[in-house]
Symmetry: C2
Subunit: 201 residues, 2 copies
């Protein structure tokens, strides 16, 4: 019996997946959480063989949770399941020690199959997505550029960002300018969109 932990914030999706996986006779959902911060505690309690993690969740992201799981529960295989096949997400998932990366676009049948393959030690990655991740390359943004861009993406002014990050306004402007340059865009909005699209935020 394969013990699975399911982390997904959308109630209906989580319920449906749990029900679905429960129908497989070699799979058992031993824990369900809807918050990224609950992943590790729940895993320590339930000791799953496979952790199925969404990336976008309240609390910490599935990627962060994956990294912590690798350290705290090494035998547990992590399978990332996400809405967005962003190149940077895949890259970060691999760096966090994930064994598989599925997008929610695919057919449901893939899911149980992926769980079995991951448990067998195989890596499960959409080839097209892997190619995109390699061709896009790693993020060209430095840590601070990423921070500043992320902080400015919601419509905050330069002054807001400067205050939030304890930087001077000039510095913030410089980082934004350089991020805009590196993303090949024309302003902070496009830069943020681009970075988000590539999973660089």
């Amino acid at each position: 019996m394969i013990k699975v932990l399911l982390a997904e914030d959308q109630g209906m999706m989580r319920g449906a997946l749990a029900l679905l996986l429960g129908l497989e006779d070699d799979i058992e959902v031993v824990a369900q959480v809807s918050d990224g911060d609950d992943v590790v505690p729940a895993a320590l309690r339930a000791r799953p063989d496979v952790a199925l993690l969404d990336i976008e969740m309240p609390g910490r992201s599935g990627l962060d949770a994956a990294a912590e799981l690798r350290d705290r529960l090494p035998h547990c295989r992590v399978l990332i399941l996400t809405t967005f096949g962003r190149p940077g997400y895949l890259r970060r998932a691999m760096e966090a020690g994930a064994y598989g990366f599925l997008v929610k676009d695919g057919p449901v049948e893939e899911l149980a199959a992926a769980i079995r393959r991951v448990l067998a030690g195989e890596r499960v990655i959409d080839p097209a997505l892997a190619a995109a991740a390699l061709s896009t390359g790693p993020s060209p943004l430095t840590d601070r550029e990423r921070d500043v861009l992320a902080a400015a993406a919601d419509g905050s002014t330069v002054a807001d960002v400067a205050a939030r990050l304890h930087l001077s306004e000039s510095t913030v402007r410089n980082y934004l300018s350089s991020a805009i340059g590196k993303t090949g865009t024309r302003n902070r909005i496009e830069a943020a969109r681009q970075a988000r699209h590539n999973g660089w935020l």
Copy 2:
């Protein structure tokens, strides 16, 4: 047997829901589509009793599809199922003749129950959401303000928007300014976020 049409672009979600509804012994999924433009043709072919529509889809939105379904297939009850409980979405769903409005956050059990209740002529709406929709009020934006804001939301410059909408730059600026004023925000980015959050776009 209740015949259901399922419109949802995310493959895994659609598959899971279809499987789930298929388990109910009085429900049968007679059509599945992943594109908003396919809803009406599929409905005309399959003649469902209930149409379960996502809002955000490729092609036309679930709200537009709902409006057309009401005209073309009046006996078919529309149930909107969406990720985002935006007040404006609910309002527009009601105007489009929907009988129910569910958010994907809720438990799966709600779904089958909602389908049966909608078919019985009941309205299914989350009370908290209804209250929010009423307290937020209808969109204060005029049609043009909405168009301009939507066109500017992706990082386009004023010149871009003016060219795309065949307006002068002054006009675009004026509309943006007035949209910013009406949303009580400080710039176009916040205005767009706010409008999107309320379902005004």
